[in-house]
Symmetry: C2
Amino acid sequence: MKSYIVGVGMTKFEKPESRDWQYWDMAKEAGSAALADAGIDYGSVEQVPVGYCFQASTAGQRAVYELGLTGVPVYNVNNNCATGSSALMLARQFVEGGISDCVLALGFEKMKRGALGGGSDGGDFATSPVARHYGIMAARHGFEMTPPTAQIFGNAAREHMERYGTTAAQLAAVGAKNHRHSVNNPNAQFQDAYSVEEILAAKEIHRPLTKLQCSPTSDGSAAAVVVSERFVDRNGLRGKAVEIAGQSMTTDTEESFASGSCIDAVGAPMSRSAGRQAFAAAGLGIEDVDVIELHDCFSINELLTYEALGMCGAGESGKLIESGATTYGGRWVVNPSGGLISKGHPLGATGLAQAAELVWQLRGEAG
Amino acid sequence: MKSYIVGVGMTKFEKPESRDWQYWDMAKEAGSAALADAGIDYGSVEQVPVGYCFQASTAGQRAVYELGLTGVPVYNVNNNCATGSSALMLARQFVEGGISDCVLALGFEKMKRGALGGGSDGGDFATSPVARHYGIMAARHGFEMTPPTAQIFGNAAREHMERYGTTAAQLAAVGAKNHRHSVNNPNAQFQDAYSVEEILAAKEIHRPLTKLQCSPTSDGSAAAVVVSERFVDRNGLRGKAVEIAGQSMTTDTEESFASGSCIDAVGAPMSRSAGRQAFAAAGLGIEDVDVIELHDCFSINELLTYEALGMCGAGESGKLIESGATTYGGRWVVNPSGGLISKGHPLGATGLAQAAELVWQLRGEAG
């Protein structure tokens, strides 16, 4: 069965500790906005997957109880940077399986201020789920005293530069484009434009990545109402409905680790495979796409994702960003929201905010 | 569509820090056992919901990578004491919706030693998801310096005693039965029988609950392979297959809070509603049931659940346990595994271990 998003909402993404709100306040704001956008009551919602990483178990219940106390199942899900997308993935499957006609997918994150990875639970490295990934990095690049996520993506960037001649300016161009896109997005954490030169001159986090090419920690929430075709028709929602034509989630295979390359360890093979699966599900290809929200946690990941989606060949993404093909006037508009780099990256909300942006873009409501 | 469990597995539940293993070791043991029981390879598994509360995000991936690196979606879910059941709930829906033919639901927990609630993330009470529940308790009973979960269930027990004349010996009888049941369960954390007198004389945790009526912190893992009817037939698994005839998950409604009673705040109305929904889904009633695994986190919750399931009328559960109706030779056998009280309660594994016990019982394999 088909699934449709009929309502989306998000809070402004905020610098952590800059606004006096709890996770349930932000969830209420985003959830209410999504329901209002759909023109439905919370009473219509049959199940609620909630994504977040940094609150206690069952915080999802506490958050959605602000929307109503209807007794429906609530699932707390986490998947690091894919947390919000995981909530959407569950919602879509409940609907496509005919299990539910109306599901609210909601995500929020209240992070700690400061360095990248702030807000993380700072667990024991020995038991870290990603110790193998960092071990591969350390074997090739050693380990520096820079934030670990910036370090592994930064080393992926170094490999891309060495292998393909990608330049620091091309990486900075990703930041310049996404910061420029955010200028008109009132929900973005940052709304300032920067030149490539300013981005190159910003504080270095892990060479070649400067601060303006790294997603900041962020507070915020986003939500999407996912419904069946029957629900769309019964409630006269054709005008609001955006079909989820294809979606895919993948995890590591041996390909992530076999080469010893950070490009593979940060997930380029997984992105390639997920893109192929999503296109296959939709019966469409990259040539059918106009607008893309992709996971630019760091500038290099936007370039890697161009290649993973088949927007260009391996190693050609630096030239692609430079050509202007991925901004207004180009072949695709990538990250019109400002992306994670400028809009912010509250883990539980990120994927759902990307879905919200795409819904607004496809409805022609993005302004 | 129908769903079937064709393989289950669990580790022995162990006192925390008594065995040198990581969460992925226990997940590998339980997951491998479930796959071996089903006689299938991990390569057949299409999706993996993983339940746990006390590890970093994506620990589910780290854990199931021990079983293989096939790139399938992995969802990390948490729902406090219902965490393992939530993983099963997702697996069942993927199968019943026709989205997947074979799903592995897996749960694990590596807890901290010591008091009840050890292993909890000890978050800020002001932002606790259950602050409202504890506020209701404090309004009626004050707040003592005893472990919070024992306190709210203990106060529910006090209310039950005041309202219905339930006795401390009837509550202790739950502990006696469940400890007695565990004697023959090699997977149980404890395997010692105790008399009602011994249970009454044990260390008081929160009056009237003594230590031998409270589930201990525990390490362990459990898993279930959930498949479609098509998968059962294609793989010749009829002899192993146990149908999931009905399942339900609920959250709080106003009924949890309206009375100001701990009996309602700890979830008696939710259990009643979930039971009704599950029986309706199955087209069966409590009179059709022979064996029950229920959530005896504390002895009082076993009594409340008797009433919620319609095994007796409101307030009659003390007499029901005393009558012997819920043990071997009675109308039902409740918690043949030893229950949470004696088998242990590693949050992510608990619900799946209950499913495993029921599968073994229904197959006649429980010994």
